[in-house]
């Protein structure tokens, strides 16, 4: 079953590439997109099969020169395959509609890269050996780079984003390469089974874990390796943004769980304290940047950093519990992390596709220039509202469920009284809480400023609703979010299986029908009942009002109250920038915003102001503090080049000669 699905995915990827090459420009996106939808569906089938308990192992010696291609699918991998498949199918469907009317890229290379990227995404969690993992990982990285660069002719920012992505993804790949090769070398085997069986010294295990964490963390956008993410996810074509932000980042999480828990078997506590810290920092930094962002897709990208931070916080907590002898809590925290991966994939794909349709309809991503879309794109607005509710972790959204699980695991850790947990958990709870609060502010801004009120630009005023294919894709995603929000208990068995792979606890982590029950903790919650109760209360409220206000009171349509002055113009509305100003001021020690005011007076008198310009921007502080110096150093190094290679043949021969003699000398001395 799983095998056939994966084979089908690969076949469809081949067909997609073929179609993208031979089909005429106009038909290309449809063909490649259809193939990608097929790949996604196949992945969904394979993942669900794996989650239902099936296993799959395959060894194809011919496909890779030395070690051969080894695939192994277990429930943990199945969880990620299923999530990836669902996101791919929906995003590709959206992409077919998006490409209609000459929007989006339709170049041969890009369209051919799409199915390859999709297949690689699906197969990474199915890899069963180090070499397979590395090959698929690199394939995924290259294909995604092509997709990110799709629109580089139109905008220079795309090329810059591509540079950042290429650099950081290669650094990450090298880190993973070093880590797993070190591991495999000492394990004396290439397949994951050999790695599990290996016995390594603690120092070596630590080194492997840190290297792998750096590699996978850069893919998941952990601070300080996140700088590529807000650029790449914002500049890529919107369907691709959805795939990157909802599917690809998850593989970083998968890698850490696979290596840290499954292969290295938990390891020591400081690993997971490190993971917890990185997660907490990423969550706070990401959401703070999202709060002050005025570019819709940049905001969503930073919110991805935040959510990945929360997931890693969950992983860290799980590891701490696991290493301090509380496997039940560890399973709970890990389940929270996995559930949040699923929920984040759902709402982030929805939000990015909605942002894509806004971009397609108005041509701008700038929240300050949007507004008034409620009446012009009603369906998109409602769908974005659903996504925003989920992303703000408010009940009854699906983000609330996974953060609730996470908080439960953190709150009830205290009686397991190790000093580390006792000190770390309150801090973690505070971080999760502040993150949730800022997320609420962020998405109120995105929805209220971007979609409500009156349009702030002609482009926004001229917006039209998106074609049905896009709406259908977004509707699917919204339905998924609703399902995982209202019936989380249905995911219990699958979640327990995939958690069991990592922490080896066969017990069911979460169960229950209408309301969610946890293993070992008495807390319960039922989003469905909450929703029903709110709806009942609404109905009762309407009836009561009708009853009390007696005769039906007529609604009057009136002008907006402008304090007696003339009618308000759209320019008088609060923009995204002004909305975020108080929070920016509260956190200005962290964000360090740059503002400059230049006043140009008249020539006659310096007291008569002719023009006044005010500019304020919030740069990514990590980038300025960390990467700019590194880049400068690299430049200086590069300047050595011309000096060393000045074109004289003698000098080059001399390099060779001294090189050889030097090697011989070393040999002579060491022997």
């Amino acid at each position: 079953m799983i095998g056939w699905a994966l084979v089908g995915a690969c076949v469809m990827a081949g067909l997609g590439v073929l179609a993208a090459v031979v089909a005429p420009r106009s038909a290309r996106p449809a063909w490649a997109g259809a193939a990608t939808v097929g790949i996604g569906v196949a992945g969904l089938i394979a993942g669900v099969a794996a989650l239902s308990g099936q296993e799959f192992h395959a060894w194809l010696p011919g496909l890779l020169p030395i070690a051969g291609l080894r695939l192994a699918v277990d429930p943990l991998g199945g969880w990620f395959i299923a999530v990836t498949g669902g996101v791919l199918a929906a995003a590709a469907l959206f992409g077919i509609g998006y490409a209609g009317g000459g929007h989006g890229p339709s170049g041969r290379g890009v369209q051919a890269a799409l199915p390859v990227f999709a297949a690689a995404l699906l197969l990474v969690p199915a890899a069963g050996s180090v070499s397979t993992l590395l090959v698929l990982w690199e394939l995924m990285a290259l294909a995604s780079l092509l997709l990110i660069l799709a629109e580089h002719r139109g905008r220079p920012a795309v090329a810059e984003a591509g540079w950042w992505y290429a650099a950081l993804t290669q650094v990450g790949f090298v880190a993973i390469l070093l880590g797993v090769l070190l591991y495999a070398a000492h394990a004396g085997g290439d397949s994951f089974a050999d790695l599990r069986a290996a016995h390594l010294s603690p120092a070596l295990r630590g080194t492997v874990f840190v290297l792998v964490l750096a590699g996978f963390g850069s893919k998941a956008g952990l601070v300080p390796l996140h700088v590529w993410l807000p650029r790449a996810h914002a500049e890529a074509p919107s369907p691709v943004s959805a795939m990157l932000s909802a599917a690809m980042v998850n593989l970083g999480v998968y890698g850490v769980i696979r290596v840290g828990f499954d292969l290295l078997g938990g390891g020591s506590r400081w690993w997971w304290l490190l993971v917890l810290t990185l997660g907490a920092v990423s969550a706070l930094y990401g959401i703070l940047q999202a709060t002050v962002a005025a570019d819709l897709k940049r905001l969503l990208a930073y919110s991805t950093v935040e959510n990945m931070g929360l997931v890693f916080l969950g992983l860290g907590a799980a590891g701490i519990f696991f290493t301090s002898g509380a496997p039940g809590l560890a399973a709970l925290a890990l389940a929270a992390a996995l559930l949040h991966v699923l929920n984040h994939a759902g709402f982030k794909a929805l939000l990015f596709t909605a942002a894509g349709s806004v971009l397609r309809a108005t041509g701008t991503r700038d929240l300050d220039a949007l507004g008034g879309l409620r009446s012009r794109m009603p369906v998109t607005t409602v769908l974005f509202a659903i996504g925003a509710l989920c992303a703000a972790a408010l009940p009854p959204g699906n983000g609330f469920v996974s953060e609730w699980l996470l908080l439960q695991s953190l709150v009830h850790a205290l009686p397991a009284g190790v000093v580390v947990t006792a000190v770390a958990m309150p801090v973690a709870v505070a971080v999760v809480a502040l993150t949730a609060g800022l997320a609420v502010a962020t998405f109120v801004k995105a929805l209220g400023v971007g979609f409500f009120a009156r349009p702030r630009s002609d482009a926004a005023a001229a917006a039209k609703e998106s074609p049905p294919a896009m709406l259908a894709a977004m509707g699917l995603l919204a339905a998924t979010c609703a399902a995982s929000a209202l019936a989380p208990a249905a995911l219990g068995p699958a979640l327990s299986r995939s958690v069991g792979v990592a922490v080896h606890t066969p017990a069911t982590v979460l169960s229950g029908g209408l309301s969610l029950h946890l293993a070992g903790i008495a807390s319960t919650v039922s989003p469905l009942l909450i929703l029903i109760a709110v709806l009942v209360a609404l109905a009762g409220c309407v009836l009561l009002v009708r009853l009390v206000s007696g005769r039906v009171v007529r609604r009057r349509a009136v002008q907006v109250w402008a304090c007696g002055a003339g009618p308000l113009t759209p320019r008088m509305q609060y923009t995204a920038t002004s909305f975020a100003e108080p929070l920016q001021r509260v956190f200005d020690d962290v964000l360090a915003p740059e503002t400059d005011v230049d006043v140009t007076p008249y020539a006659e008198s310096q007291y008569l102001v002719a023009r006044m310009a005010y500019r304020a921007r919030v740069p990514d502080r990590v980038e300025h503090a960390l990467y700019v110096p590194i880049i400068a150093a690299a430049r200086r190094l590069g300047r050595l080049g011309p000096v060393l290679a000045n074109g004289s043949v003698h000098r080059y021969l001399a390099y060779g000669f001294f090189g050889v003699t030097g090697v011989l000398l070393v040999l002579a001395v060491t022997r």
């Binding site: 009057r556 009136v558 002008q559 109250w561 402008a562 304090c563 007696g564 002055a565």
Partner: protein, 163 residues
Amino acid sequence: MAVFKLWRKIRRIGRTAEPAPPRPSGPPCPKAAALHGSLQVRHVDAGSCNGCEIEIGSAFGPVYDAERYGARLVASPRHADALLVTGPVTRNMAVPLRRTFEAVSEPRIVVAVGDCAIDAGEFAGGYGVHGPVASVVPVDVQVPGCPPEPAAIVAALRGLTGR
């Protein structure tokens, strides 16, 4: 400490509000029938010399305490049942006054406070003066006086709240 000082002052002074005078007799305003002892008032200065403002201020102050009869000043005409208009309507304030009137939801009550509001008073025929309040919006209640006493303003408001 400051808190104790303030507390001692509160204890020493006690209640400053004067005992309520008997309710003013007279025909109640027909529009005020639905109010049932609750009146939200939005005050509009249409060009007054601020004499009336001082009196309104003391009408809602501790001594006369119009609030005990159910009247309250509010921040937005949307929340208001009645407008408390003072001063001759100047040219600049004519349109804003009309807009404010339209912002109040039905039924709207307009109280013209002070001689200037009733018949432009001293300023009648001034080059900047548009005219009395009645020339811009329909007036329901008039409070004569230049400036009217707080007691008179309170009496007018009581006529509306019916308490």
